[in-house]
Each structure stands twice: as C-alpha cells, then as structure tokens.
C-alpha cells in the first residue's frame, strides 16, 4: 500500500517506535547513507514523525497545520520537508524570544506549578533533547504561555506580541507601547553583532546553515539549544578578553575579571577543551585560529577587544583632528564674506529674528482712514500752520510832552542865562523825578552798551558827530602863535580849502603876460555879454 497506515493505537507504543527508529539512525554507519536503502528511509520517516508529534504541541500556532507528520512512503522528501517547515516557521522566532526573556530574567524565578498531562510528553521530549536547565525553564515558560492562551490564536505576530505584553505586565512595569524589552534586546543584539563582527550570532548563523543543509531535523533542536547556550553566555563574556564561548553559564567568578593573568589563561585553556566539544567544526577552527593569531599579532583576525580598541582609537583620532582643524565657517564667530566660501551664505538656512516692524503697505483702508482724518480737520478748521509772529515794538513809545500855553514868567534873556549857566556848570540843574528815572535808565543803558562793546573788543563804528556851532576865528597862524597861550593849537584854524576854493595856477595882475591879459578880458566880455542876453527884452538897449 501507498500509505503505511499501520499506526499502533497506543501513544506510548508509537513513541517507543519513534525512539527506536531514531536510535537506529544514530547508530547507523554513515557510509550506509551514501546508497539509498529502504530500511533507513523508513526509519528516518518514523523518527521524523515521532519528533514532529513531540514538537507539534509546543508550536505557538495551535492547532498546528498538520497534527502529525504525513511521512508515508508516498510522500517524497520535498513534501515532508515542507510540512516540517510549516511547523517550524513560527517556532524558531518564538524560541528565540523565549531565550531572550530568559536572559533578562534571573533564572531563579519560581515557576508556577503545571498540571496538564501534556507536560509529561514535553518532558519526555526535553529529555530526548538532553538540554540544560535553561531550556527546561524555557519550555516551562512556553507552557505557561500556552496555559494563558485562549482559543483564538491564529496569527503569529499577534500571538507573540500579546504574549509578550502579558508577560511584560506581569514582570516589569517599564514596558509600554513605546518600549518593549524584547525589541530593545533585539536591537542591542544587532548592535553587538556590528560591534563584535557578528560573533554573537555566529553560532546561530552556523546553526541555521546546518539546519538548511542537513536532512535530519534532530539537529534543529540541538542547534537551537546551542543558540540558547550561546546567547546566554554571550553577554557575560562580552567584556572579557577571552573568546565568546569560553565558559559555561554558572562558572564566571569575580576573580576572572578582577584578578590578572594566570586564571584567565587557565580559563582559556578550558575554553579550548570545551570548544572541541562543539559539532560546528568550521566555527571551531576559526576560533582556534583566532587564538593563535592573537599570540602572533597578526592583523587579519582580531579579538573583540582588539577591534574595540582599534575602533576607539580611530574615533579618538577623528575627534582630535576635528578639534584641531579650523571649524566650518558657520561655527566661527563673526564671518565676513571674505572669510567664507563663495555663495555659501545662500545655501545655509539662516534664521534670525527680525526686530524691525515691516514697512506699511498702503491699502485702500489706510488711504480711506487718512482722508477721513483730513476731512475732519478741514471741517473743524484745525490746521498746524506756521503762526504769524506777534509784532514786538522795537522802539520805545514816544514821550509826548505837554505844552504849557501860559505865558512864561521868565524873560527870554533870563532863559538864555539859565541855559548858559547849566552848560557852563555854574548853576545846578533843577532836579525832577523823571530826571532821576532817566538817569537810572541811561546809567543802565550805558552799562549794557559797555558790555556789548566789549563783545566786539571795542571795534565799533565811530561816535556819531554832534554838530556844534562854535565861532572859529580866522586868525593867521603867526598872530596866534604870538599871543595865544602855548596850549592852544592851530588845528582849529581854518583849513586851506576853507580859505580859498579853486584850482590851477593862480597868477596876479602883475604876473600876467599880454596874451593872458587879453584872454582874461575876452572872457570877461563873453560872460558879460551872456548875462546881458538873459535880461528881459525891454531893458535891452536897441
């Protein structure tokens, strides 16, 4: 028959058969696999079926797409393989998340008691796999989740997130819609990969490769276990000089970090031996090679510390260089156009506050409001014109003397006497009140005038001439000199022009020549004749 439908009804028997098949495969000589043998194929199918059924309950997608693996002789490798893939596709990330959660959590968290009968099966499968305590915890956690899960769990993504959320709420109050510890852990792992050249995930990657390559999926679990181990051990070893997979989980001591030299080396050696245990030979070789290389100071493959140091050095150099170099022109203080590259200010996005009020835009409203104001002012007649100045009198008002019309009692001669006496200073002038004021006024004015004259350093126009009538005797100088006293000068005598007005050469009668005498007479006659013509006609002689 095509399908091998002879499945024993008893679950335990089925399990036993599967176990047996698995054992047979393990014990088989590898050379036998080179040639196709029906026996081995059947065993492989049985083993696959067994393992599938043991894993199916663990899968996050419940119910699993295939409750049991259809691995009859009719199905070829491709079909079986795709079924397995269907189961495993959601499983692996789920397992990874579990592991990470475990990493964050201290492993000594008390697990709630489990009661389902399914536990027994799983425990069996765990035993088969032969894992350490962590994986147990991991499985237990998985069970927890599945206990918590309700029926409608279809999409893997939602599942995971829900689970994680539930767990998160239980465990830590830190997580909210922005922060997810798992995502943060993922991010950190990625960072670690970059920093340390993927050493973190090396094991996992290799494991994946192996998983892809191999036909047996019993390697899956083991590789998965390896991953778990790797991941757990990683962050403890990050800061050590040793290579990644040196120590096991619980064996890191204070003295490994803080006591120098020999202990680490001892550990290294242990690491050596431990590494040999791994199936991943390529990985091993690489690690061994790196150990040798480190001793030999070869640059090809460096330890994480070396790499870190190099990176740090490069960063330091870069920063020092940046500090020493002249900064970009935008970071310097006052920069004029000659100090920066051409047109660079056009490219930079300059932002500064404009403290100036913008210029007014003359809109219709503005014009209208102005005109309103103007009209109002016109209506009121209120303008701001220049005012005409009030006329300040520059001259003092004239004094109007009142004429006394009564006949004066003094005679004319007496009046003249009084005047002369005043001028000569023989009789004192009669005092009057107005005179006093006048005197005061004139005294003040004189003082002011003096000050004003001082302003111009006494360079001013000469005193106005006061015309005085006084008699000047036209006495010849000789006579004056003889009689008059010495103090009298001849400057007050008449000037020559005042004696004679005329021009030219003056000759007396005795000095004239005949011709000149005749000329004079002729002139006289002409004058006489001219003046006589002007007389009225009646008086002229006929």
């Amino acid at each position: 028959m095509a399908m091998d439908l002879d499945e024993p009804l008893d679950a335990a028997a089925v399990a036993e058969m599967g176990e047996a098949a698995l054992q047979r495969l393990c014990d088989a000589d590898p050379a036998l696999f080179l040639s196709p043998s029906a026996d081995l194929a059947a065993a492989a199918r049985a083993a696959s079926r067994h393992i599938y059924s043991s894993l199916a309950p663990l899968s996050p997608a419940q119910p699993p797409p295939f409750p049991s693996l259809l691995a009859g002789p009719a199905f070829d490798a491709e079909q079986i393989w795709s079924q397995i893939e269907l189961l495993d596709r959601p499983l692996l990330p789920h397992l990874r998340r579990q592991l990470r959660r475990l990493e964050q959590q201290p492993p000594s968290q008390p697990q709630p008691p489990l009661e389902k009968p399914a536990v027994a099966e799983r425990e069996q499968s765990e035993e088969e796999d032969g894992e350490g305590s962590e994986s147990e915890e991991l499985k237990e956690e998985e069970e927890e989740e599945e206990l918590e899960e309700t029926d409608d769990v279809e999409e893997m993504g939602d599942d995971y997130e829900e689970e994680e959320e539930l767990d998160g709420r239980e465990r830590k109050g830190v997580e909210d819609k922005f922060l997810k510890i798992d995502e943060m852990a993922e991010f950190l792992d990625r960072g670690d990969e970059e920093e340390y050249g993927g050493g973190a995930k090396r094991g996992e990657k290799k494991a994946k490769k192996n998983w892809m390559e191999s036909d047996d999926e019993d390697e899956e679990d083991e590789d998965g276990d390896e991953d778990d181990e790797d991941e757990d051990q990683l962050d403890l070893e990050d800061f050590e000089d040793d290579d990644e997979e040196a120590e096991g989980a619980g064996e890191i001591m204070y003295k490994d970090f803080f006591e120098k030299g020999h202990k680490k080396e001892a550990k290294k050696k242990d690491g050596y031996t431990k590494k040999v245990q791994f199936k991943d030979e390529a990985h091993e070789i690489e690690v061994d090679g790196s150990e040798d290389d480190d001793d030999g100071n070869d640059e090809q493959v460096l330890s994480t510390h070396e790499k870190e140091r190099l990176k740090m050095r490069a960063k330091i150099e870069q920063m020092e260089k940046a500090n020493l170099d002249p900064s970009t022109w935008t970071m310097r203080g006052e920069v004029t156009s000659s100090n920066r590259p051409k047109n660079s200010a056009l490219e930079v996005d300059l932002d500064f506050e404009h403290n100036v009020r913008p210029a007014p835009v003359i809109t219709e409203e503005v014009t209208a409001s102005l005109e309103e104001m103007i009209k109002k002012r016109i209506a009121e007649g209120q303008f701001d014109d220049v005012e005409k100045p009030s006329i300040v009198p520059s001259k003092a008002p004239k004094e109007h003397k009142e004429l006394d019309e009564s006949k004066s009692k003094k005679g004319l001669a007496e009046l003249y006497e009084d005047d002369y006496a005043q001028k000569a200073g023989l009789a004192p002038a009669p005092l009057s009140i107005s005179d006093e004021l006048k005197k005061e006024g004139s005294a003040l004015f004189k003082r002011i005038c003096l000050k004003l004259d001082a302003l111009s350093h006494f360079h001013f126009a000469p005193k106005p001439v006061i015309e005085d009538m006084s008699v000047q005797a036209n006495v010849p100088a000789l006579a004056m000199e003889e009689i008059a006293p010495v103090a009298v000068s001849d400057a007050a005598m008449l000037a020559p022009e005042e004696i004679f007005e005329g021009k030219g050469d003056i000759k007396e009668e005795g000095e004239l020549t005949q011709a000149e005498r005749k000329r004079r007479r002729a002139n006289k006659k002409r004058k006489y004749a001219g003046s006589h013509k002007e007389r009225p006609a009646s008086l002229q002689k006929d």
């Binding site: 003359i362 220049v386 005409k388």
Partner: protein, 293 residues
C-alpha cells in the same frame, strides 16, 4: 565769515550751558508768580531771592516769560521771514529722480531746483548761506526709485534724514489731464500724531518748510504719523454743498517718510551731534514709538 561763525558757535555753546540755570530761574519765577497771584505765602526756598525775582518779573514782557532753548533759537526768525528752499539731488540723478524733484519743487512754495552737477556739499551749503536760503533739501535714489530725503535748515540749523518708501509720483499716473494743474497757493498743513518730544521736533522741522498761508487756502498738505512712518499726502478740497460736505481730490506725489536721524548741525558738518538716531537692530525696536503714540 569764519570769525563770525566761530563767534556764533561760541555763543551757541554758551547759551546751551546757560540753559540749565535759566530753566531753574524760570521755574523760580513761575513759583513766585503763582504764589503772588494766589495770595499764598512765598515758598521758603525763594525767601532770599524774592526781592530780586520780583524786580525781574516786573521788567518782563511777553517774550521773556517763556524759557528759551536752543531749539527755539534755530527757528526763532523762521516765523518772521518766509522760508526759501533749495532742492537738489545726489550726483548723476536718473530721469525718474529728476522728475520727482521737479514735482517737489511745485509742492514747496518758494522753492528752487538746482542741478547737482559735480558740486561738493560744502560748496552748496556755503552758497546757500550767502544767498539767504533757509532750507536745503537733498533727494537720493536707488535705481530710479527715490529713497532718501535730507532736510537741512540752513543757518546752523538741524538736519533731518528721512528714508522714502512707497513713492508714487504724478508722472506715474497716466491720466494727467484729469488731474489738472497743481494749485500753487500757500497750503494749509496737517501734522497728525506727533506727540513725543522727537515728534514735536520733527513737526517743527517739517512745518517751517512752508510759509504762513492765507486762511481760505484750498490746498492741504498732510504729514500723518502712523507707527513711526510719516505719510505725505497732498490734497485740494472743495466744499460743493455747503460747509459740511468736503470733496477731497488728491494731487501731487504721495510717499512715506521714515525718520532715521536728526543732527544738530547742517548737512556738511560731519561731526555734528546727533539728536536722534534710529536703532532698528536692538531687541526692543518693535516696541519703540519714537514719533508718537
């Protein structure tokens, strides 16, 4: 001329130094006058000087009652004489600028326009002084647009520097025939919203560019201060339907002035003291209202 100028400068400095004491004296006289009028006892601080002050009060007349300041000095004779203005431009003016200056010549009565040629500012100012010109106005431009106006009062007077914005000239308006000719009567002035001290000063500077108008003149020139920008408008009005209805017709150029400096000397005096300088880049420049309200 030089000595005269030196003397005048000394006079100015001396009178400025006296201003303080004069103001104090004026204050005392005012107090005394007030006390005498009200019949209250004389304030104790004036007891010693009371006799002297009384005598001075008796001798005072209208003019002497107001305390003088140098500012008043500058425009003291402005009311007596009619202003005589000379308009000119910066060097090598463009055609639009010359057109604008021609329009300004019509706006200011008693004004003359002069081609700049290659004259130096000091020469111009000297010739103005000798020709008894009271104000010199310089107009500057940027690529055809008039952008600067400098008004300098000539016998040592203050100089006001304005920036011009939003200039609309009569030449720009196409429909010239509708505008008609510009009236050349002496205009009435409206100076609106010049309330601060600098505002008052600017108002006097602008006011004394114009002569005393006739009361029935129909021409109005407005300088309205809005937000430190002075709007210049030139209207001719009519009252067609009785005194209440007013018909404004805009005539003449229209521009905004922005005062950015007042100096206490003429244009050519570079070291003259600044009475006011605009500071647009200080942090509180938005809040400042220098010209009023």
């Amino acid at each position: 001329m030089i000595r005269r100028n030196i003397r005048k400068r000394r006079e100015y400095l001396y009178s400025k130094s006296l201003e303080g004491t004069e103001r104090a004296l004026f204050e005392k006289k005012r107090l005394l006058r007030a006390a005498l009028e009200e019949g209250k006892p004389i304030p104790t601080e004036l007891r010693n000087e009371e006799h002297e002050l009384r005598r001075q009060i008796d001798l005072e007349d209208q003019q002497r009652q107001v305390p003088k300041s140098i500012v008043d000095d500058e425009y003291a004779t402005a009311t007596v004489r009619e202003p005589k203005i000379l308009l000119t431009t910066s060097r090598n003016p463009s055609a639009p600028l010359t057109q604008f200056v021609k329009e300004l010549k019509v706006v200011f009565p008693n004004s003359q326009r002069m081609n700049r040629g290659g004259q130096v500012i000091s020469e111009i100012v000297e010739s103005c002084r000798s020709h008894d010109i009271t104000d010199l106005i310089l107009v500057h431009e940027h690529r055809g647009q008039p952008d600067g106006l400098i008004v300098s009062h000539l016998p040592h007077g203050p100089t006001a520097y304005f920036g011009l914005l939003n200039v609309v000239t009569r030449h720009d308006i196409k429909d010239r025939k509708a505008m008609g000719k510009m009236s050349e009567a002496y205009p009435h002035l409206i100076l609106d919203n010049f309330s601060t001290q600098i505002g008052e000063r600017t108002a006097t500077i602008l006011k004394h560019l114009f002569p005393v108008p006739k009361p029935d003149s129909k021409r109005i020139i407005t300088f309205a201060n809005r937000d430190d920008y002075i709007s210049f408008r030139h209207h001719v009005y009519e009252k067609p339907g009785g005194p209440k209805s007013i018909d404004l017709k805009e005539v003449g150029p229209r521009f905004e002035l922005r005062l950015y400096q007042i100096k206490l000397g003429t244009v050519e005096q570079n070291e003259a003291k600044s009475e006011f300088v605009l500071r647009p880049y200080i942090n509180t420049s938005k809040k400042q209202k220098t010209l009023g309200a």
